[in-house]
C-alpha cells in the first residue's frame, strides 16, 4: 500500500522540479539561514521595495517563466524546440526602442506611447514566431533547425533595425516594467508573470488548445483525420511563443532602458528549454504540464541565484549549472529510475525470502 503511494508521488511529473526546489532551499538554509530573509527597504528614489534572495528569484525568473509557457506549447505540438527566442527578444526589443526613440538615439522625450511600442514589439515577436512556425509546419523542417535561421540572424537583424546604435529611453515610466512601480514594494515583473499565467490558464480552460497541441504532438496523422489542422496548430504555438518573446523583451529592455544586441537575453533559449525538460515534459512532444514547466523556470533561476550567493563568477556560472542539470536529468532518466526501482524490489524480495527461510 505504502509502496504504491511512494510510486505515485515519485512518478508524478512535478516530483522532480519540486524535489530540486526543496533541495536547493535546504542547501541554502544550511549554508546561510539569512537566504530567505525578505526585507522592506527603500530604493534610490525613496520608494518602498522588498529585497532579498527570494524576491530576486521571483523578479529575475520572470522572463524565463514567460518563455517557458510558450516553449512548452511549441515543444508539445512540434516535438522540437525554438532556439531563436534569445535572438528574437533582441529583435523585438530593438523594434521597441526604435519606436520609442525614433531615429534620435538620445531623445528628450519618448516619440510614441509605451503601449504602441509594446504592441509593435508584439507584432514583431509574432512575425518572428510566424516565420519559424511556417518553416516548421508548412515546410516540415525540424524545429531546432528552422529556428537556427533566426538564431543566427536575429542579433544581426536587431542591430540593423537601430543601425547598430544603442538608443536610451528617457521616460522613467518605462523602467517600471522591469523594476518597481512607485508605492508598490513588489517587483512589477511578478505581476506581469501572474497576468501571463492567468491568461494561459484561461486559454487552456476555455479553449481546446491543450488537447489539440497534445494530440498533434502525439499523432499528427490521426489528429488530421479527427478534423484537427496540425499545420495550423503548430503554427499557432510558434506565434504564441512569439507573443511571450515580446513580453519578455519588454521586461529585458525595461530593466536597463536600452539594449545590448550581442548580450541581451543571451543563452535564455537554453534555460527556457531546460525549464521545460526539468518540468518533466518530454522534449519529443506530446503530453505536457504547464505548471511543471513554470516551476522548472523558477528552479533554474533559484539555482542561478544560489550560485551567485556562493560567489561564483558570472562567466563560470554555466559550468556549475551544467553539473546540476546533468545530475538532475540522470536522476530523472527512465533507465536510472527503473534500475533503482528494480534494486528496491530485489532488496525487499530478498529480505522477504530471507524471512521465509528463517521460518
Amino acid at each position: 500500500m505504502g509502496k504504491s503511494m511512494i510510486k505515485k508521488i515519485t512518478g508524478h511529473q512535478m516530483f522532480i522540479p519540486i524535489m530540486a526546489l526543496l533541495l536547493l532551499a535546504v542547501v541554502n538554509l544550511i549554508v546561510d539561514p539569512g537566504f530567505f530573509k525578505v526585507t522592506l527597504g527603500t530604493n534610490n528614489s525613496g520608494d518602498p521595495v522588498l529585497s532579498g534572495s527570494l524576491i530576486t528569484i521571483l523578479d529575475y525568473g520572470s522572463e524565463l517563466a514567460i518563455l517557458a509557457i510558450g516553449m512548452t506549447l511549441v515543444t508539445a505540438a512540434s516535438g522540437g524546440q525554438d532556439i531563436s527566442v534569445g535572438a528574437t527578444i533582441a529583435i523585438a526589443g530593438s523594434a521597441m526602442l526604435r519606436v520609442l526613440c525614433g531615429t534620435n538615439t538620445r531623445p528628450e522625450t519618448i516619440q510614441a506611447p509605451i503601449i504602441v511600442a509594446f504592441l509593435v514589439a508584439c507584432v514583431v515577436g509574432m512575425l518572428c514566431g510566424a516565420f519559424n512556425g511556417a518553416l516548421v509546419s508548412i515546410f516540415k523542417i525540424q524545429p531546432m533547425i528552422a529556428t537556427l535561421i533566426l538564431f543566427t540572424a536575429g542579433r544581426s537583424i536587431a542591430a540593423w533595425i537601430n543601425n547598430n546604435e544603442l538608443p536610451i529611453v528617457p521616460d522613467p515610466k518605462f523602467k517600471y516594467f522591469g523594476g518597481f512601480i512607485p508605492g508598490i514594494p513588489i517587483p512589477t515583473t511578478v505581476f506581469i508573470v501572474l497576468a501571463c499565467i492567468i491568461v494561459i490558464v484561461l486559454v487552456l480552460k476555455f479553449t481546446n488548445l491543450g488537447l489539440y497541441t497534445q494530440a498533434v504532438g502525439i499523432n499528427e496523422s490521426s489528429s488530421k483525420l479527427n478534423g484537427i489542422n496540425p499545420t495550423f496548430i503548430k503554427f499557432l504555438t510558434f506565434v504564441i511563443l512569439g507573443l511571450c518573446v515580446a513580453v519578455a523583451a519588454l521586461i529585458k529592455v525595461s530593466r536597463i532602458s536600452t539594449i545590448n544586441y550581442s548580450v541581451i537575453a543571451k543563452d535564455i533559449e537554453m534555460d527556457a528549454i531546460l525549464a521545460v525538460a526539468l518540468g518533466g515534459n518530454a522534449l519529443s512532444g506530446g503530453k505536457f504540464n504547464m505548471w511543471s514547466s513554470i516551476l522548472g523556470a523558477y528552479v533554474i533561476q533559484f539555482l542561478t541565484t544560489t550560485l551567485y550567493k556562493f560567489n561564483v563568477q558570472s562567466d563560470a556560472l554555466s559550468a556549475y549549472k551544467a553539473v546540476v542539470v546533468i545530475l538532475l536529468v540522470i536522476f530523472s532518466a527512465p533507465a536510472v529510475r527503473t534500475y533503482f526501482s528494480n534494486l528496491f524490489a530485489k532488496i525487499s524480495t530478498s529480505r522477504k525470502s530471507g524471512k521465509e527461510a528463517a521460518k
Binding site: T207, A215, I218
Partner: protein
C-alpha cells in the same frame, strides 16, 4: 529426448506492471515443422515471441535450442546468432539503406563492407526468391509488400534453425501470400522449424502442421491440424462454444424505416491524389455496403477520398441530394460522415492520451476550438461508451496505448459513434483483432444499420463482407469494375469479378 526437437520452452513466465502476460507457458518445435501460434489479442502470442527473440527478458523458465540447454537470449542479436530469425508484421528494416544492406547488415563478424560482393549476393538471393527489387535500390522506394519480402529474404538467408513469422501476410495480396507459402514449404523441406502467427484461419489450414493455442497468457494445448477443425479452433481460442459465428450468417441490413431509399451520400467522378481513377458511389439510408478487391486495388483510397483524408482533385458530392463540398476531414465530419481508418496505430489512436480524450476527440473537434467539454461531461461520454462497447480498460484515464489492439479499436469506434454520424465508414475494423471482438463489431454494424445508419464496410476477409454487406462495389487496379447485390453475393462471383473476364 527427441532428436528432432530444435526448440523447447518450458515454464515461461513474464509479467508487466499489472499484467501477467505469460504464465507457465510451454512451447516446442521440431525440425521441418510449421506451427501456427494462435490466440486472441492479449493471449500472449507477441510476448512469447518477444521473449524468444530477446526483445523482452523472461522472468523465469528455460529455453533450449537443439543440444544447447537453457540458453539465455538477451538481445535480438543474440537470438540471431543462435539461429532464430523473425519477420514482423511491421517492416523492421531501415528505409534509408539499400535493399542489399538491409539483407546483410548486422550479420557476420567482418568489420568491412564489401559492396561489390554484397550486391552480387543480394541480387542472386532476390532472383532465387523471385523478389522484384534490385540490390542497390533504396528500400524506401520499394512497395510495402516488396519490403516485407526483403525482410523474409534476410531471414531465409541467415541460415536459421527457427523462423518466426509474426503476421507477415497482413500487407500482402494473395499472389504474394502464395509465394510466401511456397518459400515456407521450401524451408520446411530444409529442416527449418517455423512458427507462424496469423489471424487468417485459411492460411493456418493451408500451410501449418500443428496448432498451438494460447489464451490469457496460458498454454491451452497443442493440436494436430486434422484434429482441430475451424469451429473447434475458434472455440478453443475463445474458451467457449461458438454459436455466435454461425448466428450472424445471412443476417444482412434490415432497416425498413422511412426514407428507406433516400441516398444519404452520393459522389460523382470523385478523384483524389492517391492515384485512384474517378469513381461514382452512393449509399442509401440504413444500407450496409462495402468496397472489395485485392490489397492495393484502391478500396481504402476510395473511402479516404469520400472523407477528404487525401487531397480531393475533382468530383461532385451530394448529401441528401444537396451539393456539399468536402475537401478536408472536418468538412466530412460536419456533414455527419465518420471514418474509422485502416491503420489503427498510425491514423487512429493518439497513444499517450487517455481513453477518455480519445473517445471525445472527434465530437470535441466538431463542437469547436473555443467550446471544450467540461471534465464531467467528457467523463460521462467516456463511461457511456466504455460500457456500451464493453471496452476493457482500467479506467477512462488510462492511456490508450496500454490497451490491447481490439480494445483500442473499440475506443476508436466509440469516438466515431459518439459523433452520431449518419454515414459511418469502417476501413478494416477487424484487422489484427481477436475473433470475439470481430464478431462484436460485425453485430454492431448490423445493429447500427437497422437503426438507420448507413455503413460502408471494408475487410480483407470476403466472408466477413458477405455476412454484413447487402451491396458490394468491386475494385481492380484502382478502378471500380463492378457492383454485386442479392444473389450475386457469393464468394465465387466476387472472385470472378475481381479477377475480371467472365
Amino acid at each position: 529426448m527427441d532428436n528432432n526437437r530444435i526448440l523447447e520452452m518450458r515454464g515461461i513466465n513474464k509479467s508487466f506492471p499489472g499484467v501477467r502476460a505469460l504464465q507457465n507457458v510451454d512451447f516446442s518445435l521440431n525440425k521441418g515443422e510449421i506451427h501456427a501460434l494462435m490466440g486472441e489479442n492479449g493471449a500472449g502470442k507477441s510476448t512469447l515471441i518477444k521473449v524468444l527473440t530477446g526483445v523482452y527478458s523472461k522472468d523465469s523458465g528455460t529455453i533450449s535450442l537443439g543440444d544447447k540447454k537453457n540458453v539465455s537470449i538477451r538481445s535480438p542479436q543474440s537470438a540471431q546468432n543462435l539461429g532464430i530469425s523473425t519477420v514482423y508484421q511491421e517492416i523492421t528494416l531501415c528505409p534509408n539503406l539499400t535493399v542489399a544492406e538491409n539483407i546483410y547488415i548486422g550479420r557476420g563478424k567482418s568489420q568491412i563492407t564489401n559492396w561489390k560482393k554484397m550486391n552480387a549476393d543480394a541480387d542472386k538471393l532476390l532472383k532465387k526468391l523471385d523478389i522484384p527489387a534490385r540490390a542497390t535500390q533504396q528500400l524506401a522506394s520499394c512497395s510495402i509488400a516488396v519490403q516485407q519480402m526483403v525482410a523474409i529474404a534476410r531471414a531465409v538467408d541467415m541460415d536459421c534453425k527457427v523462423l518466426i513469422l509474426d503476421e507477415p501476410t497482413s500487407s500482402l495480396d494473395e499472389q504474394e501470400v502464395e509465394k510466401l507459402f511456397g518459400l515456407m514449404r521450401d524451408l520446411k523441406a530444409l529442416g527449418v522449424g517455423i512458427i507462424f502467427v496469423t489471424h487468417f484461419l485459411d492460411q493456418v489450414y493451408e500451410v501449418c502442421d500443428k496448432i498451438i493455442v494460447l489464451r490469457d497468457g496460458q498454454f491451452v494445448g497443442e493440436y494436430e491440424i486434422k484434429d482441430l477443425p475451424r469451429v473447434k479452433l475458434v472455440a478453443t481460442m475463445l474458451g467457449k462454444e461458438m454459436d455466435d459465428l454461425s448466428d450472424i450468417k445471412g443476417e444482412q441490413g434490415t432497416y425498413s424505416g422511412e426514407n428507406k431509399d433516400e441516398r444519404v451520400f452520393e459522389a460523382k467522378e470523385l478523384q483524389s491524389d492517391a492515384g485512384i481513377k474517378p469513381f461514382d458511389f452512393y449509399i442509401k439510408k440504413g444500407e450496409v455496403n462495402g468496397f472489395t478487391g485485392l490489397l492495393g486495388s484502391g478500396r481504402s483510397e476510395c473511402v479516404r477520398a469520400i472523407f477528404g483524408a487525401d487531397r480531393v482533385l475533382k468530383g461532385k458530392v451530394k448529401m441528401h441530394g444537396k451539393d456539399v463540398k468536402i475537401s478536408k476531414p472536418l468538412d466530412a465530419m460536419k456533414n455527419g460522415i465518420a471514418y474509422l481508418p485502416e491503420d489503427r496505430k498510425v491514423d487512429g489512436i493518439i497513444g499517450d492520451l487517455s481513453v477518455r480524450d480519445n473517445i471525445i476527440m472527434a465530437l470535441q473537434v466538431l463542437k469547436g476550438f473555443f467550446r471544450p467539454f467540461s471534465k464531467k461531461q467528457a467523463e460521462a461520454f467516456a463511461d457511456e461508451y466504455i460500457k456500451k462497447l464493453n471496452i476493457k480498460t482500467a479506467s477512462s484515464d488510462t492511456p490508450i496505448k496500454s490497451l490491447s489492439g481490439g480494445n483500442q479499436q473499440k475506443v476508436i469506434l466509440a469516438r466515431w459513434l459518439l459523433m452520431h454520424p449518419e454515414y459511418l465508414i469502417l476501413d478494416e475494423p477487424t484487422r489484427g483483432i481477436d475473433v470475439g471482438t470481430k464478431v462484436d463489431i460485425q453485430k454492431l454494424v448490423l445493429d447500427l444499420a437497422s437503426e438507420g445508419m448507413s455503413v460502408t464496410f471494408i475487410s480483407s476477409e470476403t466472408d466477413e463482407m458477405l455476412r454484413t454487406c447487402s451491396r458490394l462495389i468491386v475494385m481492380r487496379d484502382r478502378k471500380v469494375v463492378g457492383e454485386l447485390t442479392g444473389d450475386d453475393l457469393t464468394q465465387n462471383k466476387i472472385m470472378s469479378t475481381i479477377a475480371g473476364g467472365e
